[in-house]
Structure formats: C-alpha cells, structure tokens
Amino acid sequence: MKKILLIEDEPLIQKSLQKLLEKRGARVCVESTGKTAIEKILKNEYDTIICDLMLQDITGFDVIEESKKRYSLNEIAVKFIIITAYTSDQTLQKASNYGCRVLGKPFDNINDALNIFMGEN
C-alpha cells in the first residue's frame, strides 16, 4: 500500500484530497503545519510527500530543505510533489532546482493529478 504524506493547511483541500487518494487505495497522513510535517518526515517512511508551498508557519521549500537531513537530493526529487497557487516563474524555477514536480492549484484535471500522486503515470 502506498504511503502518502499530505502537507496542506486548507481544511477542505486536506479532507477531500485525503478521501480521493484513499479511494485510490493509498494510506494518507495529513499535516497542516510545516514543523509537524518535518517531524513526521524525519521519523516515518513515505512513498510520496505532497507539499503545499504556503503553509502557516514555514514554506514548503523549508520543509524540503529540512528533509535533506534524511533524504538525498535524488530521493527528494522523486518523493516530493509541490502543489501551489503561486505558479510564478520564480517559484517554478526554485522547484525545478530541487527536481520536484509542481502542480498549480486549482488542478487542470483532478484525475491526472491523482494519477501523478499515486505514481500511476
């Protein structure tokens, strides 16, 4: 079973994305703040980490930086998927430095997005 960590602070997105992913057969863990998410990442093993950029306490990039303590750059590029409403060139550039995939919110197509999260495409 695929283990996914979802870092997102909007309750409605949290809840529905969690349900949608669970329907696809994933086990989803949800965190709303960057700090608690980092604790989880350093302690537990996840196949995929879906990370929003604008969190209440820190940014998604901070979470990725902290994750370097445990994961190599290669692993980070594979594991992390960034979701953000700010798809400015600057953000995309920064994300591409980590090699992560970036999905702009709202998703153009929800099913495609779910496929990406599940690693099915």
């Binding site: 994305l17 949608l20 409403a85 919110k105 709202p106 998703f107």
Partner: protein, 501 residues
C-alpha cells in the same frame, strides 16, 4: 541737502571710512587685473609656457619623479592636460592608467568613501578598463587606518586579509583625506616581489596630482550619484511620476547618463497618470489578495465536489453537485481573469481581442446590469489575436462602458443598450462603443477629454482623460464620433497582423 545730512554725521564718517577702505582694496584688485591682462596680452603662449614650467618645476622639486621614470616632459604635460579635461572619475582613472606614468604598474585600485554615504566605491583599473563596485564601509575604514598608520606603505596581500583588495601579491598604498571624501590608492604589479623605489615615487606623484583633480571629480560623481538615487526613488514610488521624453511642455529637464528626465509642466497628463497608477496599483493589490485568499477555499470546494461525484447519489443530488461544481469553476475563471486584467504592466503581449472584450464586459456588469449589451463582430475576427497591452486596452473599454451605463442609468430611456462593434480596416482594428443614451452635445464634446471635467456629482473628471492617455500609450486613437442617437466612441488600434517583425 543740508537738512538731510545733518542728523547723521556719525554714520557718514563711518561710511566714508569704509568707503575709503573699499576704494583702496578695489584699486589693489584692479591693479592685479591690469597686471594680469598686460601679461596675457604681451604673450599668451609665453604665459602658458611659464605656467607649465612652473608646474613642472614644482613636481620636480617635490618628488624627483621625472628623472626617475624618464618621462618626456611633453608627454607629462599632455597627460596632465588630458586629465584636466576628463568629465568623470572613471574617465580620469582610465586616462591616467593609459598614460606613461603608469608604465610598469599592472593594476591600480581606488577606494573612495564619500563622507556621509553608507557605502564606498571601489574602482579598479587595469588594461581591460575600469571596473567599479560597492564595498562595505567597515572594511574600507580598517584598510584606511592600516594604510594611514603604516610607515613603509608596503603591504603583502597575503598577510593583509581583506577581501576588498583586488590586487595580488605586494602592493603599495596611500590613504588620503580629501575634501568631503576619503581615498585609498593601491598600486600593484600583481607580482609577488616587492615593488621598486620608483614605484613608491610614482605613488607619491600620483597622490599629489590626484588630490586637486580627484576632489572635483568626486564631487561631480557624488552629485550624479545623488541624482541617480533620486531617480531610483522616483521609480520606486508607489505613486508613479510620468517621465515623458517627447514632451514639449517641460519645466524641468535633467540629463542622467544619457536619459533625459523631464517633469512636465502640464498638470493634465501627470495628474491623470498619477491618478490612474494609484487606482491600478490599489486595485491590483486588492485583486491579488482576493485571488490568493479565495483560490484555496475554491479549490477545496472543487475537490470536494469531485469527491462527492464519485459517490452514489440520486439524480437530483448529482445534478445539484454538478451545478455547484460549474459555479465554482466560473468563480475560479473570473478571479483569474480579474487578476490578469489589473496587472500594472507596461509590456505588450499577444491576446485574443474578442475574449478580452467579453471579460471586460463581465467586469462592468454591476454598473450595466439592466442594459442590453451587444458585441458585434465578424466571425473571422473571433480568433483575432493582436499585440498590445491588454490591461490598458481593457481599462479603456471598461471606462467607456461604465460611462455609457451611467449615462443610460441616469436617463429615462427605455430599452437601454450598448453596442460594441469590432471592425477590421486596412491596418487597424476599430472598436465602437455606442449607446442609445442622451448623447454628448457639441459644446460638451470639446470638454470631455479634459482632465477634471465632469458632469457627474461624484465624478473625478479623469475617466476619459485617462482613457485618452492610455490610448496614446497604445499608439491608438480614441475619439468621439458622430452618432445619430446617443454617444459613440471610436478606438482605433494599430493591427500589425501582416508584419514580419
């Protein structure tokens, strides 16, 4: 006469005394001038020659430099003349470097701190030219004192760890306190052997001839810097000030590095521009905040409806959920379009004209609720893409539609309508905004584009002035055209569809 002079005897004597004094000094001055003129007349070239010889003697006496570097006097005089004519510090330094005085020296670095400024400038000159950069003041100060305290003035860069020094190996340095600024001069061969005695003399000589020339240039440069700073400040103001190169009505004209900045006398353009920018930046900020604050919950709604649609419900429920979903998507699109339309950007882009007009009509909906709006265009124009500034164009159209709507709403006309017609003519696109309202009389027609002219109680009178200003910036023309019924505005936009560039 007597009556007048009597009461002020004491004062008079004093003034006479002082006048006497004035006279004596005056005649002295006149004598000097006369002497000078006489000399000048007697032999002009002789005088120059004398001056030069005097100057060269002075140099000889002070440094013993000429003999050491074996520099022909002629060359030296030429260089000094050239230096006097340079217009900027950088030019002065490169001129100096290319002259024979610097023969044998590979790199010279000048560190200048203008007193009162928060950073210092470092200019290093080598064969490739002059390069300047900013250095922190604390590093400058420690280097300055170190050089000042040193007796030998000889340093090894390896021992003297300071990342502001751009030379390698040994260098000799001099700290100078000039009027209004502190200066450090570093001379280096970029070599790891200590410099020779002649190079010390060169440094001494350079610092001597620099002192007077530097002061003037540093002052000039600092004035230029201040102007640049002011320019930067003006550019960064949230309230933009218009800078118009083509204006003829300027009251103030200043040239900074080739850019001519004119601040216009006519309060018309600047007032509308300021008002426009103020409005746009405020609106843009508001819309940005709205977009970011609303897009998250909307996306949540979007996701939850998708989730619900996967459940089993009866048909009624499903159709309701679908309605919710499509409304959410509409909200997302509207917010996205809003933020596109109100970007305070000055760049052109390619966009679909008809969709831009449609989006603009959505924006104007609140004011034009009960008015029938007709967008008329030829089918072949549906996919027409033009290169222009979508923000400005939309604002012009928005203003015109709002104006028409307000005129219609204030009237008692039945079947209120606004027609927006798009036509393609030779090399332009014409957009007509026509209403069936009360129209604009010939007397008013002369006034409407003037700023601060308004017929509305709460109007600023800037709407149409802004429109015309924006149209001008787009290279297009906005005019009031004759109409049998109501008001009709025509906006002609250049259309370079066939252009290859």
């Amino acid at each position: 006469m007597e009556d007048k002079s009597n009461p002020r005897t004491e004062k008079d004597t004093r003034s006479i005394e002082s006048r006497g004094h004035d006279l004596s000094s005056h005649s002295l001055l006149e004598f000097e001038i006369r002497k000078f003129k006489k000399n000048l007349k007697s032999n002009q070239s002789n005088l120059k020659q004398n001056d030069r010889n005097l100057f060269l003697n002075q140099i000889k006496n002070e440094s013993g430099f000429i003999a050491d570097i074996d520099l022909p006097l002629k060359d030296l005089v030429k260089t000094l003349d050239k230096i006097k004519r340079t217009s900027s510090l950088k030019e002065l330094l490169t001129t100096l470097h290319s002259s024979n005085i610097f023969r044998g020296i590979n790199k010279v670095q000048y560190l200048i701190h203008r007193l009162g400024s928060t950073s210092c400038e470092s200019i290093s000159v080598d064969d490739s030219g002059a390069h300047s950069k900013k250095v922190p003041i604390d590093k400058f100060n420690s280097l300055f004192t170190a050089v000042l305290k040193s007796k030998t003035k000889l340093f090894d860069q390896g021992h003297f760890l300071s990342d502001i020094i751009e030379t390698n190996g040994y260098f000799i340095a001099e700290s100078l306190r000039l009027k209004g600024s502190n200066l450090i001069i570093l001379l280096s061969n970029n070599s790891f052997l200590p410099p020779e005695v002649t190079e010390f003399r060169k440094l001494h000589f350079i610092s001597k001839i620099m002192q007077e020339n530097f002061e003037a240039h540093i002052f000039k440069d600092s004035m230029a810097n201040r102007k640049l700073l002011a320019h930067e400040l003006i550019n960064n103001l949230s309230l933009k000030i218009s800078i118009d190169k083509d204006s003829t009505e300027e009251i103030f004209k200043q040239e900074i590095d080739g850019h001519i900045i004119t601040i216009q006398n006519s309060n018309t353009d600047s007032a509308t521009t300021i008002y426009h920018h103020e409005r746009i930046s405020l609106l843009g900020e508001l819309l940005n905040t709205l977009q970011h604050e609303l897009s998250n919950p909307l996306f949540g709604l979007n996701l939850s409806t998708s989730m619900l649609l996967m459940e089993e419900f009866n048909e009624d429920a499903i159709s309701t959920i679908k309605d919710i979903s499509s409304s959410i998507k509409r909200c997302e699109v509207i917010i996205k379009n809003f933020s596109h339309l109100y970007k305070d950007e000055t760049t052109n882009s390619k966009f679909n004209l008809i969709s831009l007009i449609k989006e603009t009509l959505v924006l104007a909906k609140s004011e034009s609720k009960h008015i029938l709006k007709n967008l008329i265009f030829d089918d072949k124009l549906a996919d027409l893409e033009i290169v222009s500034n979508p923000t400005w164009l939309s604002q012009i159209l928005f203003n015109l539609v709002i104006n028409s709507s307000q005129a219609l709403n204030a009237s008692s006309i039945e079947k209120k309508r606004i027609d927006i017609e798009v036509l393609e003519v030779d090399d332009a696109i014409e957009i007509f905004i026509k209403d069936n309202g009360p129209g604009i009389g010939p007397e008013l027609a002369k006034e409407i584009f003037k700023p601060f002219y308004t017929t509305k109680k709460t109007g600023t009178g800037l709407g149409l002035a802004i429109c015309q200003n924006l149209a001008k910036k787009l290279g297009s023309k906005l005019e009031l055209t004759d109409s049998s019924n109501g008001a009709c505005f025509k906006l002609s936009i250049p259309n370079e569809k066939n252009s290859t560039h």
